[in-house]
């Protein structure tokens, strides 16, 4: 294959089969953003340092800037565009929105997907589990606190509990 001729692969993207042709050197990040026009996946370095480009590959968080598009042949990819359930937000998205866990929102897709993988593994994570799971994702806006609280809220709701944000999370102590 000539280096500038396109490679074509098939994989499962957000539950649907896709076929896409792209220059073979492209990363999954570039294929998603440039060839599939899914710009929900962001980037902060394209060097594997910030976690902003995280997507799920066969259910596990990966840095899409470090994964070659070609390596995704016949695999399962989930991006932020695949989180909402029809016209309803996913409980994680709902909790992030309610608590203000997305400020600028640039890191948000990656945090949502990393948390999604965590909750699939461990439906009742404690604060330390959450910190560990999210430790590869940088956020410069929130100080992470509202993100932890949102993951905890979503986890409770996914377990079927009737959980609401704590008053102190939203209003502080007065």
């Amino acid at each position: 294959m000539r280096p500038d001729s396109k490679a074509k692969i098939a994989f499962e993207l957000n539950g649907e089969p896709v076929e896409v042709a792209f220059a073979p050197h492209k990363t999954l990040l570039e294929v998603l953003r440039e060839d599939l026009a899914l710009t929900g996946t962001k980037h902060g370095c394209e060097l594997g340092e910030c976690g902003t480009c995280t997507v799920l590959l066969d259910g596990a968080p990966v840095l899409s800037c470090l994964v070659l598009g070609l390596a995704c042949e016949r695999r399962r990819v989930k991006t932020v565009e695949g989180l909402a359930q029809g016209s309803r937000l996913h409980p994680l998205q709902e909790a992030f929105a309610a608590l203000g866990a997305a400020q600028c929102g640039y890191c948000t897709p990656a945090f949502l997907l990393t948390a999604d993988a965590l909750l699939a593994d461990n439906p009742s994570p404690n604060r330390d589990d959450i910190k560990q799971a999210l430790s590869g994702n940088l956020c410069r806006c929130t100080g992470y606190i509202k993100i932890y609280e949102a993951v905890e809220l979503a986890a409770a709701r996914l377990r079927g509990e009737k959980a609401e944000p704590a008053r102190e999370s939203l209003y502080g102590r007065r």
């Binding site: 440039e34 962001k42 937000l89 992030f96 560990q132």
Partner: protein, 844 residues
């Protein structure tokens, strides 16, 4: 100084929305129990953000779009002898190449430092200074083309840092500035400080250093330019200040401003780092004009480090005289800033290192000397707290040492001699509401301060610090008499309301502030309000998302526009409701007579009545801060419509074997005046604590001074910032002391809470292990060295050793308000310029 002599000021002096409409004074008085304001609300853009559908600049893609790459200087300081771009143009896919001579008109954010060129014209001033730009069909081709541009440089001796700049006035980095490589020298004296020191019972001097650090927004800067053959340029950019970018583009490209449209895309974090007009914005615009095709650039992370405009490394010397009870008799503060290669906001930053020392504790006589050096590094500028975290660090550590010498608990020390509300300071800043005492009490009680301070086991400690920050700068960047913020409001006959404003959403929630305020006044749900923001074609000017100005300034403009709409609608709904207009009330999407709430119509019907009677329903509002009280040269930096206040207690664990400092918990209390959106206030405070913690412990812009002044760590991995594993727990107390100038009383909360964190951590380290780290970041190495010194019986401290003698100009002497001055410079003080500097010395 007796308290009674402090001048009180009233609300009447405090700022204005624009008069002019028939309904300048609201016809309908606002209700005092808020329906929307102060609630914890989901931001209006939250859903788009969690869905990943918010369009950031790099998400934009236009048909036939070209990609731009910049060639950057590998030399910190070099004359450009020759550039030959001919070979690059022969590469297939390259559409245009630009060099400095194609964009010869200088620009810069401040009128006094128009010292940047889109591409270096004759000289490169730091490693990373852009010298050429290429537009090509792909990023790969553009990158390959850069290698084909031949640049001949004549290297010049680089100026490594502020001390190097003092020692080496030559070679000059710029041919302007106050002295050699000193860009700016400031000397201000408010009262006779020497007389004040003579009255003191304790005089203490300290030297401190604050290392530079950078904003590190997760979004890399990006911009897309489009040129239309009818002479119209559009630029989408991740900028905090579309208005200033608009001005810079018109100037450099010599286009009529009316033909330039700047759209600020939602910023993926900014923190001050996207508030200058940048080289890459001008270059893509020019490339679009040349090629007739849209041109995009997305900076690499390394290039984001070169854009910088971050925290100035600042060397500080402070001398304060106090009475035994802690009352300050005089203060003298000196700062020397390492400015980097260009002016940026630097003149303002330098003034800010001396402006807010007076707004927390009463300082009856005050002298400030500030200097900014040009150096061959990426330019420094405004980062969250702009010029004030450095002096606040110095001051609060200095106060901690003074309190210890006086034998006063630092919390008690700080509760005494607070600046009273509604008063003037020595440097003529007009203070409004002042909730610092309440903030201190909250964190002292919440943290168990009295049980912990000086009582924890070796290795653990608590430290306390206070701070204050402006809620918007009182003066615009370029002098003019026009409003700082404008809002237009349109009511639809379907009951929808659209609010247009130039303010820029950078994650702080400015769109939500607009929606909430308009919803409050018109009795609607914030989600009924459509916000159109940050587009110079569509929205009235707002100066930008910097200096914590948006909530107060656009908030006040929005209140005015909404009140005018409410009054207009009420006037035409009153006959139908058979009620006097004063009783017409807007709540819950209904318009009714307050005396008989059941008799009402929908908001949409009321709009229709107004539209039928008076035509299209639209109003405007605007806000201009009141003139500052000070009239001396330099009085433009520091005045603000309102000052926020914070107090902070940090708990630290120090490992004496390694010097590693961990911060498990921080208690913060912040006087926000009034929360507009309670949830957003929490987010801003927690985010500020996070960033302050990073600055306190790890963040630094480090350069290889001995190897060509190359940036040591232009990557997210090497530039250490707190992850989830370093971030501390935060206990937040929200204090609301409404300010008469704030919209519904609101003051800022996005920058101020950062300021007390570094000094609180430094003071806590001292409480834990008895060493003073007079320098941030407080890295293990510094703590370790100080502990070794302590063991050897040397001074248990790490920090700077001297402040160089500088060629200060004659001081501008301004009598403080209580000495009968009028805010103008004169012979109010007697202070003669003396050699107060200690010998210059490098940091250990």
């Amino acid at each position: 100084m007796a308290d009674g002599k402090r001048r009180k000021v009233g609300r009447s002096e405090g700022g204005s929305t624009t008069p002019g409409g028939p309904s300048n004074r609201p016809l309908v008085q606002p209700s005092h129990d808020f329906r929307v304001v102060g609630k914890a609300l989901r931001k209006v853009d939250a859903t788009a953000k969690v869905l990943g559908v918010t369009k950031f600049a790099d998400d934009l893609s236009l048909p036939r779009m070209l990609y731009c790459k910049l060639l950057r200087s590998p030399h910190p300081h070099a004359r450009i002898v020759r550039i030959d771009a001919a070979r690059a143009l022969t590469l297939p896919g390259v559409k245009a190449v630009l060099t400095g001579k194609d964009l010869p008109i200088p620009f810069g954010i401040l009128p006094v430092s128009q010292d940047e060129h889109a591409l270096a014209l004759d000289k490169a001033r730091f490693v990373g200074d852009p010298v050429a730009g290429v537009a090509a069909v792909s990023e790969e081709v553009a990158t390959a083309a850069l290698d084909l541009i031949a640049v001949e440089y004549e290297p010049l001796r680089p100026i490594r840092d502020h001390l190097d700049a003092v020692e080496h006035p030559e070679p000059r980095i710029h041919d302007y500035g106050d002295h050699g490589n000193l860009h700016k020298l400031i000397n201000l004296e408010f009262g006779d400080v020497e007389a004040g020191f003579a009255e003191a019972e304790l005089v203490r001097e300290d030297l401190l250093f604050f290392e530079g650090n950078t904003h590190l927004p997760m979004e890399q800067h990006a911009a897309v330019a489009e040129w239309s053959p009818d002479g119209k340029l559009t630029l989408w950019s991740s900028t905090q200040t579309p208005h200033y970018v608009h001005r810079a583009l018109a100037k450099v490209l010599e286009l009529p401003p009316a033909r330039v449209r700047v759209i600020a895309t939602t910023n993926g974090g900014a923190f001050g780092g996207k508030s200058d007009p940048f080289s890459h914005e001008i270059v893509v615009a020019k490339l679009a004009m040349l090629t007739g095709r849209p041109v995009k650039i997305t900076l690499t992370r390394e290039e984001v480090f070169y854009c910088h405009r971050g925290r100035h490394p600042t060397l500080m010397w402070v001398k304060t005289g106090v009475k035994k009870d802690g009352a300050i008799t005089a203060m003298h503060f000196k700062s020397l800033l390492d400015g980097g290669g260009y002016g940026s906001y630097g003149v303002a930053s330098t003034y800010y290192t001396g402006a807010l020392q007076t707004v927390t504790h009463h300082v009856p006589r005050y002298k400030f000397q500030g200097a900014r050096a040009f150096t061959n590094k990426p330019p420094c500028g405004p980062k969250r707290g702009h010029g004030t975290p450095q002096p606040r660090f110095a001051l609060e550590v200095h106060f901690d040492k003074i309190a210890e010498q006086l034998g006063i608990d630092p919390a008690d020390f700080r509760l005494k001699h607070l600046v009273p509300p509604h008063s003037l300071t020595a440097n003529w800043l007009r203070i409004g509401s002042m909730g610092l005492a309440e903030c201190i009490r909250k964190v002292v009680a919440g943290s168990g301060w009295k049980e912990r301070y000086r009582k924890l086991p070796y290795g653990q400690g608590v430290g306390l610090a206070c701070s204050s920050y402006i809620t918007g700068a009182g003066l615009p960047i370029y002098w003019n008499a026009m409003p700082h913020s404008g809002v237009q409001l349109k009511c639809d006959r379907g009951g929808g309301v659209t609010v247009f404003c130039g303010s820029t959403e950078i994650g702080q929630g400015s769109d939500s502030v607009l929606a909430i305020i308009v919803a409050e006044v018109l009795g609607l749900d914030p989600f009924d309000i459509a916000v159109v923001a940050a587009d110079t074609d569509l929205t009235p000017v707002d100066l930008g998302s910097y200096s914590s100005r948006v909530t107060l300034m656009t908030g006040n403009a929005a209140i005015q526009a909404a009140e005018r709409a409410r009054d207009l609608i009420a006037r035409h709904a009153a006959p139908k409701l058979e009620a006097p207009v004063e009783r017409i009330t807007f709540v819950g999407g209904r318009v009714f007579d307050a005396a008989s709430p059941e008799r009402g119509i929908s908001f949409a019907e009321a709009v229709q009545l107004a539209e039928a009677a008076a035509g299209t329903v639209g109003t405007v509002g605007s806000y201009t801060p009141a003139a500052g009280a000070g009239k001396y040269r330099g009085a433009g930096v520091g005045p603000s419509p309102a000052y926020s206040y914070s107090a902070c207690v940090a708990l630290v664990d120090v490992d004496p074997a390694t010097g590693i400092v961990r911060v498990p918990k921080i208690w913060i209390a912040h006087d926000v005046g009034r929360s507009i959106n309670a949830a957003a206030v929490m987010g801003q405070i927690e985010g500020s604590i996070y960033m302050g913690l990073g600055e306190a412990l790890m963040e630094e812009m480090a350069y290889r001074g001995n190897r060509n002044v190359v940036h040591k760590i232009p990557s997210l991995l090497e530039y250490k910032s707190p992850t989830t594993l370093e971030m501390c727990d935060v206990i937040t107390y929200v204090v609301e002391d409404p300010d008469p100038n704030g919209p519904f009383g609101a003051k800022e909360c996005g920058q101020g809470p950062l300021l007390p964190v570094p000094p609180a951590v430094a003071n806590a380290v001292y409480d834990a292990v008895g060493v003073r780290i007079d320098e941030v970041p407080i890295t293990p190495e510094k703590v370790f060295k100080a502990l070794r010194r302590k063991e050897k019986g040397e001074e248990p401290r790490f920090g700077p050793l001297g402040f160089p003698d500088l060629p200060w100009p004659e001081p501008t002497r301004v009598a403080p308000p209580w000495e009968g001055g009028d805010g103008r410079a004169g012979e109010g003080g007697r202070g003669r310029e003396k050699a107060v500097g200690v010998t210059a010395g490098r940091r250990r």
